[in-house]
Amino acid sequence: MPGLELINLRAMMPTLFPAVYGLLLLVFIPLLKHDRRWQWSCAVGGMFVSVLVPATMLTQWTFGLEFIETAAGVPGMAMVHLDQLALWLDVIFGIAGLLAVLVMPAYLRRAGAYRPEIFPLLFFSVAGMSMMVSTENLVMIFVGLEVFSISLYVMCGLARERIVSVEAALKYFLLGAFSAGFLVYGMALVYGATGHLDLPGISAAISGMGEIYSMPMLLTGAAMILVTFAFKIGAVPFHFWVPDVYQGAPTPVTAFMAAGTKAAAFGILLRILHSGFGSSEDVSGRWLIALSVLAVLTMLIGNLLALVQDRLKRLLAFSSIAHAGYLLLALIAPLEIGAKNVLFYLLAYTFMTVGAFIVLSLFQGEEGEDADHISQIAGLWKRRPILSLAMGVFMFSLIGIPPMGGFTGKYMIFIAAIKSGHVLLAAVMGLAAVIGAAYYLRVIVAVFFKAPEADLIERIEVPGAAVIALLIAVIGTFLLGIMPSLVLEPLAHVGTALLP
């Protein structure tokens, strides 16, 4: 009976769980009004299950080529297409959300901006990201993108008494909505050129029409869609919002945004570039020039601008731009390797960058403002040795030093670029990584070798939840470096499944 398959709950589980849980939280939070501990425990528990749901589904799929769809068998009607790529990305969103939610209440309380609404919003944005990556239809991609973006705008501006927070949110909102305009118009143009809004349909229509460069309407539409996602990942020259928003948003929100948005946008880029605007024989060749230019600019400019930053949140923002560059380079490799590298790097990046932001979230001044100037963490080693070690691990992993996950990820992207014949791009990546090492080492020198300075934060509270979050992040960073096969083996077929 085809009617039943229209609502295939199993295919929607990873999206549906956070969405429904967020709604329930929204209803029940007023009942738990006076008990912050309960509100928070409910959020942590729910986020844990949001990791567990896709993770269990992953363990049941052993071959990597499986997928489940709603409306299976009716071409162009499948609104939900859940495959391994989507499940892995769901796990990443869940991990980023879990790590962020662990430190959220302590940070917001000290900043005087504790509002329990942030928990449902976090669930909604996880649901939106999950919705966006588990579909092959542009309608759902748009809806998912907006669901998580709108939740993030609100989360950024949640500390509404603080001008930096409101400014960051407004900037993010205006540029985000601007890019959404491009996305809609791009989709309309692609729809006009091909008559399809589903990626397999678009792909089939394109391969029936011959050379893509002779179709201005399709090309403009595809370029506009690409620009939207380049904006979301913060690729140069669409990166202007990144440092401002990362600095102004509450630090745990920044942590979630840095990892989650990037994972979602790269996941959907993989899907759009390959099963939508790519073709089976020439996987990413059509987009080679655009992607290479973006990757080179992003790697170099991100790393160079990070060199001159004194505020660590801004420094990490530029570092996140640079890492988007490495990931763009991973997209260029043939899909079988590229998809695997992108997912592995996103996972490693999630652990190390969220970990670093969690360390930063512990530094707050008397008024609860962010105390993230590099002089304010100087001499941390003498006062908080274990916290310093954690920060050291994240920084070394971001540089790409073995045996951390950041090294394995960078190494694989580098090798894949050389093997697919892009030696020049690989050389640029090497150069960028060397520039990058300079500013991460600056942080390490400040933490371990400098004496504490005058504008020191007197009291650093490290709540138990933050210890757990840091422990997860450190273990994850090391695990991906020491035993990469743990993740790489199940990832082996992720790319093959994406081919049209």
Partner: protein, 103 residues
């Protein structure tokens, strides 16, 4: 004399350009919001005109247009909320005043 869908597409391209121009040149947050709405609705117009010209009516383009309408409303609500928060703190909605976050 162009046929109906390409005339509508032309109109939508003009609207989209006006919207983009408005976002890039205006400084008042509300005007920028209006320009963004114009861009989204230009997209809607293009979607609907394409969908009419497709054989069989092309329902999915019209469905997307409906979703865009709903989401634009949600976006405007959040945006206006943020503008009000900025106004309370600054007493103005000129986005050039929001310049605290600069290097």
């Amino acid at each position: 004399m162009p046929d109906a869908p390409s005339a509508a597409l032309l109109l939508s391209a003009v609207l989209f350009s006006i919207g983009t121009f408005g976002v890039l040149t205006r400084r008042g947050a509300i005007t920028i919001l209006m320009s963004i709405e114009l861009m989204l609705n230009a997209g809607n117009l293009a979607l609907i005109s394409v969908s009419r010209s497709l054989p069989g009516g092309g329902a999915d383009g019209q469905v997307l247009a409906l979703f865009v309408l709903a989401i634009a409303a949600a976006e405007a609500a959040v945006g206006l909320g943020l503008v009000i928060a900025l106004f309370r703190l600054k007493g103005s909605i000129d986005i050039d005043l929001a310049r605290l976050l600069r290097w």
